[in-house]
Symmetry: C2
């Protein structure tokens, strides 16, 4: 019994006007006389008309859709951010298309195709693989026009507008705190080597340590992808260590939580045997046992600002200046860091 979906023609016929008028009622209401307008709105109402987006996009040359390219939807870090993006977008009438950017399908081409096949007007790109700085070149080549905002991470030299946290400052804050708590032997479990975040956070780590007269080069270090597994691996190496750091800074909460969890499995406890800090403040950080001391990123803000920025770009054309938003981080003190008497090493 599938009735046909009503078109603008149906509305026009019922209201006794031309399709042009119906269209105008929808997009420029005060261009049409009040009485006519009312007849049209009634007709729209009565048949339940909704403009066909395909037709509209074809004619208008834009789809009011934003593409969100994530490295891994499964990672709980992205949940709140995507949530904020979706909110901001629907508020302004944009749809949100999600694509999981598998590292293997490294084809930026497939992202670009979303643009020139008219499936998305703009792109929110979560990507910081430094190896991918050729993206900008690629873009510069021919399709410069795909409006893109880098979120959370950034592509160095890409020249793209960016919204991210002050990663360097955030880590400095963490290290300062650990030092203040008496730690001077501070290890680090880092993110993937080829990632910008890893570099930025590494910078903050080194800078802060140096400021306190500690040689960053001498500290214990482990690196791996963002995720529990890296925490596990690090913990297994950690327990073997002869000279254990009294504190370990982890580049991500998931890593920190994996680290602590595996530590427990080996009979060590946090913060008694070692203090641990994370980075992100994902929702679980507050729930783990013990609750994780960490550096908070402003997830909601990151998502919302990036989305707003992109939509502004889409609507205002390119504004000359390419924006660069950096959000401050915040120290969240919970229970995985213990104050110790400063030892003379």
């Amino acid at each position: 019994m599938t009735e046909k979906i009503p078109t603008i023609q149906d509305v026009a016929r019922i209201a006794g006007v031309s399709t042009a008028t119906v269209s105008r009622v929808l997009s420029a209401p005060d261009m049409v006389r009040a009485r006519t307008r009312e007849r049209v709105t009634d007709a729209i109402e009565s048949v339940g008309f909704t403009p066909n987006m395909a037709a509209q996009s074809l004619r208008r040359r834009r789809v009011k859709t934003v593409l969100v390219a994530l490295p891994n939807i499964g990672n709980s870090f992205f949940g709140p951010i995507v949530d904020a993006i979706e909110r901001a977008c629907t508020e302004r009438g944009y749809d949100v298309l999600i694509v999981n950017r598998r590292p293997d399908s490294s084809d930026d081409a497939s992202l670009l195709s979303y643009f020139n096949s008219n499936r998305a007007d703009g792109l929110l790109l979560f990507d910081g693989s430094t190896s991918r700085s050729n993206w900008s070149a690629r873009v510069g080549n021919r399709e410069l026009a795909f409006p893109t905002v880098n979120v959370c991470e950034l592509i160095e030299g890409g020249g793209l507008p960016t919204v991210l946290s002050d990663n360097e400052g955030g880590v400095e804050m963490a290290i300062d705190y650990l030092v203040r708590m008496g730690h001077r032997n501070i290890g680090r479990v880092a993110g993937p080597e080829e990632n910008v975040l890893n570099r930025q956070r590494g910078l903050g780590y080194a800078k802060a340590l140096k400021r306190h007269g500690i040689d960053p080069g001498l500290q214990w270090r482990h690196a791996g992808p963002f995720g529990f597994q890296t925490g596990h691996d690090a913990a297994r190496r950690f327990v073997e260590l002869a000279d254990k750091p009294s504190a370990v800074f982890c580049d991500a909460d998931e890593i920190a939580i994996g680290f602590i969890s595996e530590l427990h499995a080996h009979g060590l406890t946090c913060p008694n045997d070692v203090s641990v800090m994370g980075f992100d403040d994902i929702p679980f950080a507050a729930q783990s046992s013990p609750p994780l001391t960490t550096i908070r990123q402003q997830h909601k803000q990151l998502g919302r600002l990036a989305a707003e920025l992109l939509m502004d770009m889409l609507e205002g054309g390119l504004q000359g200046e390419t924006a660069h938003v950096v959000l401050a981080c915040e120290l969240v003190e919970r229970q995985t860091v213990r104050a110790i008497a400063p030892t003379q090493t």
Copy 2:
């Protein structure tokens, strides 16, 4: 320097054929002679042509896009499922549109509009508010045609194809296990009252208890939305209890983890003071301290099967039979349940 995006016309001109032929090369290659075909593919290659989806959708009357309506993207339970959906969809050339279904914007109308405005061909609906069984009515009324698959939850009486876990059986499994471990005073922290999952899991709970000669009506119970907060609330009530259950079954891992976390804050520990079980096996369950004993849902499978089913429907038309897939759950034994000597109450 924004060059124009190439159209099928450009390709046709370059290859020296008509647009019809180009179109055929793309959608029915063996309808055109090998030599011509090659000239066309070369032309396509050389200008980097990608069909304009808006035009294609307009003509073909389908957009190859699936709408995913979640109650809350932020909830980490959905991560792996959405991941699986996205994988299955892109494999078959479908895009994934995400919409966060805020309870307040209760308008099913807005979901339907995705359909009749030609923005999505089908819907993966995560929704189990029993109050919403009018959805089916609404659908039956006029827009029956929006192909929909219920995922994880289901709308009772909606008559929609469904993919979900054996919630009842899963909880029975949990209770059987707790009883086997010596528990006979088993509380429950339930999900939101108006949710089907709550009902289904409640059924399993009651059934299993009765089978073991325990009166479900006499057990301690707390209910609230899925999320940490409910766990916290439950814990605060729990610590006040005179006659504490020796075990508590939680309707979701997030609830269980919140419960344990808040218990710790009050000086009680799990599983020494109380055994706790969750449901879902979200990624964090294995990482929390102590690792959570829970009932695993097959997230990947749920997502993939639902997506496949929907796409099959879209491509094969409606198959007469409306499918009803129920996936088995699995008990994951970790460390939040302690064996106790059965007490004679």
